[in-house]
Symmetry: C3
Subunit: 332 residues, 3 copies
C-alpha cells in the first residue's frame, strides 16, 4: 500500500483486512513496529482528532512525527498552478510538499474544499496535485470530498458494536450556522454503501448530495448488495434504523454563495438531533457523528450525553485504524 | 497516584517523597522509565515553561507527548455546560477531553481563570468539570486558582537552597499593567504554609487574597507548625526574610471589572521589586518569581540580574519535579 | 564543537569534514547516535524547512525535540536590554533562553533582523545576546545576517552536483514585493567565496550588499583562492556561470524605510529569473534558491519546474547537514 486516499480504492476484503489489523494492534501492541520511521503532517486546516491521533498512533508504534501548519509558524502556501505569487502566500505547494516529503517516510495532508467551484472540489483538483507532488507513502487526512480515515474508523466502530452489514444506516443533515464541506457526508455515504448497508440520506430540500457522490455510493452498494436512497421524511427515514449518523454540510445549490446558503438554511434550525428523532428507530439504534459537533445547534445535549451516543468511541477508533494504515504504508 | 490537581491533596511526607523522587531522577536518570507512554497536553492558555518542560520531561523518561492548543491549529473549545454553541467555539470539552484522553496515557490541562465570577473561579468549577471528563491520570498544568507543578518546583528549589522549613517567606504583590489570575499566589501561600514557614503576604490595600485562599493556607500552617499573616508594610514584612517571592495578581474587589482594577492599581507602580526592598531582609535572602516577569515593571533588572535571583533555578526545577509527578502517575 | 553560529568560524577543511560527516550519516545511518538527547527549538520567525528538518534530523539520530514559538501559544518575548516591559511582551529573552536551555541538551534559535538599524543588524547585537544567554550547545537557525545551516546545505549540494570548487557562482538579486533580510545573501556570498569560487554578485543599482559583508567575503576568497566581484550587467555576470543562486533582499540604502524601499524596487519587477537568463551560462548551469520562493514574481515557473532547478535538493540537504552539526554538537 503506497497511498491511502479514498476508501473506494480498496475492496471490501481489503477494508476488512485493515480493520482486522487495527484490532490486532489494539490487542497485541507492537511498540517497535515503526521504530525510526517519521511521519510528516501538513495541516492546511484546523484539527483536533487528526492532529493528536496521528501523532499518538505513530508513538504507539515506536515512530515519531512532525507537524507543519501554514499560517501558524509557517508561511502561507499557494496551491494554484501558475499563480503569480504577489499576495499573502510566500511558498507554493510545488516546493513545500516535495521538501517535506524529503524529510519523512510518509506524509499526511489535510486540505479542505476551496468551497468555490463544486465541480473542481468534486474532482479533488487541489488534493490530487498535492498527492502527486509527494514521492513517499501518502495519507489523506481529509480532502475536499473525502475523509477515508474517518470512514475506516466508523466502519470499525460499527463492527465493534455488532451493527449488521445489512443494517439500516441513516445519514442525516443537521443544522450549522454556516455551510461546512461535503467531505464527511460524501465519504460516509460511500462507506456505508460499501459495507453493504441499507443507506438512507435524510436531508431537507436543497441539501441533496451532488449526483456524482450519490452515483459513486450507488455503485458501491450495487457491488456489496446494499442500497442507497434519499428522503426529506425524517420519520420514514429513521423507522427501523440501526444507526443515525448526523453531519452538517452546505447546499450544492448555493456552493460558494454564502448569502444564498444562509437563506436556504435559516429556516432549518429544527434539524438539531433530539431524543424524539429516535421514536421509530430500533431500540438499540446508535448515534454517530465525526466531531467536532456544536451542542444544542446540530445535536442536543440529551443525545450526545445519552446512551445512544458513540461519538467518543468513533474518535478513539481514529487512532486505532490509522495505526493500521501507517503500518501498511510503512511496514507493508 | 491518579491525579495531580492540588498540592494540598498530599501531606508533607508525600510532598517530600515527590521531591526526593525528583532529586533521585536528577542524580540517577532513568531514560527508559516511561518508554512507550504518551502524555497529552491541552493548553487553553499560553505557556513557555510548562509547554517545554512537560515535553522535555517525558523525553528524558523515554516517553513522548503531543500538544493541542485550541484556537491555534485546533478548534476553539466551549467549556460551559448546556451552552447553545452558535458562536465561535466549534467543539465542547465534553467531547474534546475524553477523545484526547483516549489517545494518551496521561493528560495535562492548562486552563486559566475565567476572571468574571470570583466564587466560580475559587470553586474551580470549570477545571473540575474538565478533570472529571478524563479517565486517565491527570495533571493540573495551571487552573483558575492553582498551579501545583510550580509550587512543587518552588518547594524543591527552597530545599535545594537550604532554606529552613521554618524560614520567613514573604509573598509580595507586584505591579503589572493589568490584573493577572490568582492561581500562583493562591498555590504559593499554601505551599509555603504547608512547608511550615512563617508566611507573610505583603500587598497593598485592596489586594488581600480571597478569604477562602487565606483560610486554606492557615489550615495548612496549623498542621505544619507554620504561620500565615498579611500586611501592607513592606519594611516590616521583609525584616529577616529568607525568601521574597514576587507575584502579580488582580484585586478580588474588582474581579472581572477592568476599569475598577485600573483605578486600584494605577497608583501602585512603585510596587516593582528593587534592591532596596532587601535592606532589612537576611543577607542571603533569595528572590523568587514563577516567570514570565515584566522587567522594570514588576521586578527591576538589578534584582533579576543580581545575586539573589533564583528564577532560572525555579524554572529548571519545573521539569525535574514534573518528571517525578509523571513517574508516579504512569509507573507508580 | 559548542556553537554553530557562522560558517566563517570554520576553515575549509572543517567545513569539508562536516559535509563528509553528513554524507556518511546519509549512507550509513546511525539511528541511535543521539538517543536520549533533546533539542530545543525557539522560532521568533516563521519557518518550514528549518522547523521540520531539525525535528526530523533529531528523530533520524534517535533524539527528540520541542518547539517554542513566541506569540503562538507562548508569550511574546522582549529582546532589548533594559526595556521597561509595559507593552505586548510578557517575557524577556534573558529569562526565556536560560530556562529553555535548562530543559534541553542543545538549543537552536531563529531570529530575523530587526530591519531598523543596519549597523546593529550587521553586528548581530540581538543574536549575540541570545547566544550568550545559552550555556548549552547552540545552533543559529538564521539570524540577522547569517544562515549557516543553509550555507552548509548549499555547499554540500554543489559538492553532490560536482560543481567545481573554482566554478563561477552568480548570486543574483531578484524581485519581491517588499524588502527581505540580508541573512541569506550575506551567508551565501561568503560561503561561495570560502569554497574558492569565482563569485559574482549581480544586483541592480542600490542593492549592493553592505561593505562589511563584501569585505568579509573578499577575505574568505583571498584565503581560498576565489574572487568576489559585483555588477548590474546580467549578461556579463551569467556568462559561463556554473550556478545561478537567486535571492530577494532589501536595499541597504533604504534600510528600515519601507517607502524609500518601494520606490527603489518598484521599477525592478523584471528581475524575475526566466529561462532566457541562462542564455550565456554554461549548458549545465544549476539554478539554486533557499526557498520559500514566490513563483512568477522572483522566479518563473519555467525555471523552478525546469531541468536546472536544484531547489528541492538544497532543501533536502538541510536535514542532512544539520544532522552532522547536531552530531558534532551533541556527540563530538
Amino acid at each position: 500500500m503506497q497511498r491511502f486516499l479514498d476508501l473506494a480504492d480498496f475492496n471490501r476484503d481489503q477494508v476488512a483486512d485493515l480493520v482486522a489489523l487495527a484490532r490486532r494492534l489494539q490487542e497485541h501492541p507492537e511498540p517497535q513496529a515503526l521504530a525510526g520511521k517519521i511521519l510528516g503532517l501538513l495541516f492546511m486546516n484546523p484539527s483536533l482528532r487528526t492532529l493528536s491521533s496521528f501523532q499518538a498512533g505513530m508513538m504507539r508504534l515506536g515512530g515519531s512525527s512532525f507537524v507543519v501548519t501554514p499560517g501558524q509558524g509557517t508561511w502561507q502556501v499557494e496551491t494554484r498552478t501558475g499563480a503569480v505569487m504577489n499576495a499573502g502566500a510566500a511558498e507554493h505547494v510545488r516546493e513545500a510538499i516535495p521538501v517535506l516529503a524529503s524529510y519523512c517516510d510518509a506524509l499526511g495532508i489535510r486540505s479542505f474544499a476551496e468551497g468555490k467551484d463544486l465541480a473542481s472540489d468534486i474532482a479533488e483538483t487541489q488534493f490530487q496535485l498535492m498527492a502527486s507532488l509527494c514521492d513517499k507513502p501518502f495519507v489523506n487526512m481529509e480532502s475536499a470530498m473525502n475523509h477515508p480515515c474517518q470512514s475506516l474508523a466508523d466502519w470499525k466502530t460499527m463492527d465493534d458494536l455488532g451493527v449488521p452489514r445489512q443494517g439500516r444506516f441513516v445519514l442525516s443533515w443537521v443544522y450549522h450556522p454556516r455551510a461546512l464541506p461535503l467531505a464527511v457526508p460524501a465519504a460516509t455515504v460511500h462507506m456505508a454503501a460499501q459495507r453493504g448497508m441499507e443507506v438512507v440520506v435524510l436531508r431537507p430540500e436543497g441539501y441533496s448530495l451532488p449526483e456524482p457522490v450519490m452515483a459513486k455510493a450507488r455503485a458501491a452498494a450495487a457491488a456489496s448488495g446494499g442500497t442507497v436512497t434519499e428522503t426529506s421524511d425524517r420519520a420514514a427515514a429513521l423507522a427501523g434504523a440501526h444507526v443515525l449518523y448526523a453531519k452538517e454540510w452546505g447546499s450544492p445549490l448555493a456552493y460558494g454563495d454564502a448569502e444564498a446558503e444562509t437563506k436556504l438554511r435559516d429556516p432549518l434550525k429544527d434539524w438539531c438531533v433530539r431524543d424524539d428523532w429516535f421514536a421509530r428507530a430500533r431500540s438499540d439504534c446508535h448515534f454517530m457523528h465525526c466531531l467536532p459537533v456544536r451542542r444544542n445547534v446540530a445535536v442536543a445535549d440529551e443525545v450526545l450525553d445519552g446512551p445512544r451516543s458513540r461519538v467518543i468511541q468513533e474518535a478513539a477508533n481514529r487512532m486505532v485504524v490509522q495505526m493500521a494504515v501507517l503500518y501498511r504504508l510503512l511496514k507493508g
